[in-house]
């Protein structure tokens, strides 16, 4: 029992402190919160030696593969990027207090819908320590307190970063409990967070599919996340061939490991014979492999055959599934069947076809003549993102400071009573 309850009690203590902090934050003005962000950035720079020493200790114990070690690794440039990120968030418009709607009823009641903080947010992430600083900045900007639970392997890095962030908060007289790191690396603390209805208002998990799926399955608290980004690029019959080649190359190969990378190419039957060989050549030159349906293999015979399961696979690697389709409806049907409601693009010079695709696509982000890799908070102009959401409630697509707000109604009367 002791092992079970202790993380719960630790979460309760952290969450109660976070709740009190959030109530203070909700009353601060944007200048005060921006001052906090600037002070946090300055403290990250000033405490870089301690952060690097903590990170070196984490790395010393790390037995993971090279890619994992790379994500865990901090250096001067990465600390500077964290600090700069906080300053970028400080420069964003205030997401709080925005009047989202404003109308007057026939009885004279004036009703305003006003953006307000959500409250206490739980962030669960994996190895990259900078995710904690980014999340802390976005939450502070939006008036929310946050409890950060990073991967156990990065515990010392996370605490060292948090010490700097708290130094910044303290220096401008903002509550230290606005940003907290999980007090224990015990895995059951994650379970306590997921069970934390009433303690946490929202959980943002950021990491691999298994983490996100566990959070979605077990959470008793609302979740904003995406489990996978199975993104499609559809080359329509009326595509500009050169543009199509440039976009597919970028959408697949710019970075293969991000959720906005295209995993499946859908190519219209009418242009596949002329265009697919060139696209295959472009991508092969960068080391890409293919899983293609029969019609695509009729055109480029040495492509590997795709199984149906391949079209349900988020490769996160230099592999592209390829299917030949007959028109926009067939492309949309493929996306509905295999997609993840994340990000999908059409390439075409035919505006009617493009608008039909964009209107009938049911994904968080639909693009026309642009790379799917633009699904990103920074590219959307949000300054940063705490994650990307593919659920259907509250927010879809990149989650920035606006999406970390809720709203409340303010109703002003002159003595009205309800008939």
């Amino acid at each position: 029992m002791h092992v079970e309850t202790e993380p719960t009690e630790q979460l309760q203590r952290a969450a109660h402190a976070a709740r009190a902090a959030s109530q203070v934050l909700a009353r601060t003005d944007t200048g005060h919160r921006n001052g906090g962000l600037a002070a946090m950035a300055a403290a990250l720079r000033a405490q870089a030696p301690q952060i690097l020493a903590a990170n070196a200790a984490d790395l010393g114990d790390c037995t993971g593969p090279a890619a994992f070690r790379d994500r865990l690794t901090l250096n001067e440039a990465r600390i500077e990027a964290m600090a700069k990120g906080l300053e970028d968030v400080a420069a964003l418009p205030d997401p709080l207090g925005r009047v989202l709607a404003d109308w007057t009823r026939p009885n004279g009641l004036r009703i305003q819908r006003i953006a307000a903080p959500i409250g206490v947010i739980g962030m669960i992430y994996e190895s990259r320590p900078n995710v904690g600083a980014d999340a802390a900045g976005l939450c502070l900007k939006s008036g929310n307190a946050v409890i950060l639970r990073g991967g156990a392997e990065s515990t010392r890095s996370a605490h060292a970063i948090n010490a700097a962030l708290v130094t910044g908060l303290r220096s401008v007289d903002l509550p230290e409990a606005s940003v907290q790191v999980a007090p224990t690396a015990d895995r059951s603390f994650v379970g306590a967070m997921l069970a934390g209805a009433g303690l946490l208002d929202l959980i943002v998990p950021r990491g691999g599919k298994s983490l996100v799926e566990r959070v979605r399955r077990e959470a008793r608290v609302p979740v904003l996340a995406h489990a996978e980004g199975l993104c499609h690029t559809y080359i329509h019959a009326a595509a500009n061939p050169d543009m199509a080649r440039r976009i597919v190359l970028n959408a697949k190969m710019r970075r293969t490991g991000i959720c906005g990378a295209t995993e499946t190419l859908l190519i219209d039957r009418t242009v596949a014979p002329s265009l697919l060989p060139a696209i295959v050549a472009d991508l092969r030159a960068l080391g890409c492999d293919f899983r293609a349906d029969a019609a695509a293999r009729d055109i480029v015979p040495d492509l590997l055959a795709a199984s149906d399961a391949d079209f349900d696979t988020e490769w996160l690697d230099a592999i592209l599934s390829v299917a030949v389709v007959d028109g926009v409806d067939a492309a949309l049907a493929h996306i509905t069947r295999h997609g993840s409601e994340h990000t999908d693009a059409i390439v075409t010079e035919d505006a009617v076809a493009a608008e039909y695709f964009l209107t009938n696509l049911d994904s968080a982000v639909g693009l026309w003549n642009a790379s799917t890799q633009f699904c990103d908070g920074g590219e959307f102009g949000f300054g940063a993102e705490i994650g990307i959401a593919t659920g259907r409630i509250h927010a879809r697509g990149p989650v920035g400071v606006e999406q970390l707000t809720t709203y409340r109604y303010v109703v002003r009367g002159t003595g009205q009573v309800r008939p």
Copy 2:
């Protein structure tokens, strides 16, 4: 096993049909959906005899108390009100396709955030059969399919109403599965709905606190609801005394059983001696009882003493808790400690005090110089409401057709690739 799995399979069948219907609805224009609402209203009127016969059969088996029987009872007037409600919803602006934001990035990408249907909604309610028709109308207007699970006592009424709604849908060639009634009165169907992640996108429970708390506890699907409305009216030192008396009388006594009814009167110490006796007299004349703190009983000695738990009680009856407070911050502190983040009001002629209250109150709805009973979708101008939400995600306050939408991004480019 059979008993366990069958409702799950029934839900799967209903939800898959609903998903297909929702995909059709998402592509309809507002004229088509409004035509469906008009046809549903006409069919309700035309099939009133069958609905009343089904309702009589439900009532014949009903052994509940009088208030329960009243909620279950349909008559010509209530059927007409259902039909009129659908027509009112048809008259609302289209909630879909609204451009919620629109900007262009320095690289030329134009980004629009556009309102879109949520998808498949599960509605769980108790005895009043009209709730099903109201929910169906709001969901159809907003392009969502809905699965209705009313109380077991109203099963025949619900099926008869649904038959009329489906007649209307069919007559305008909208999918019949847009509005479905739970295929079984088995209680485990509710359990299947709550476990229906991936099948349902949102659950709206509407009913007593125990129903809503069960749904919140067990649901694996996002929930919009309020478990209770513990609403406060605070009479500030600078209140207009006559206005204060009118507002408190209305806020408590207009209807005592609705969630927007005031349950607790907070009265400023400076005006309590002059104003509380008159308020007590006003309310007593309508049969109201009181639970008062010591300071209030010093002023009106024959009030019953309040326990601390009384201030945590949603009476839903002609009972008013009364506490004397010292200023706006004390009122806000009382509301934070005892309230339910639903609806709270201040009565004052002091605009600075009012704005301070409205800014620092963290409830879904804050009112100045108006009755808390205005927290209602109809009174907000939404035409109707599917419920009132006190959570912190997606929507707060009355949930109408706008709140039954999500959004998607449409990004139009000219060949941009990400650097």
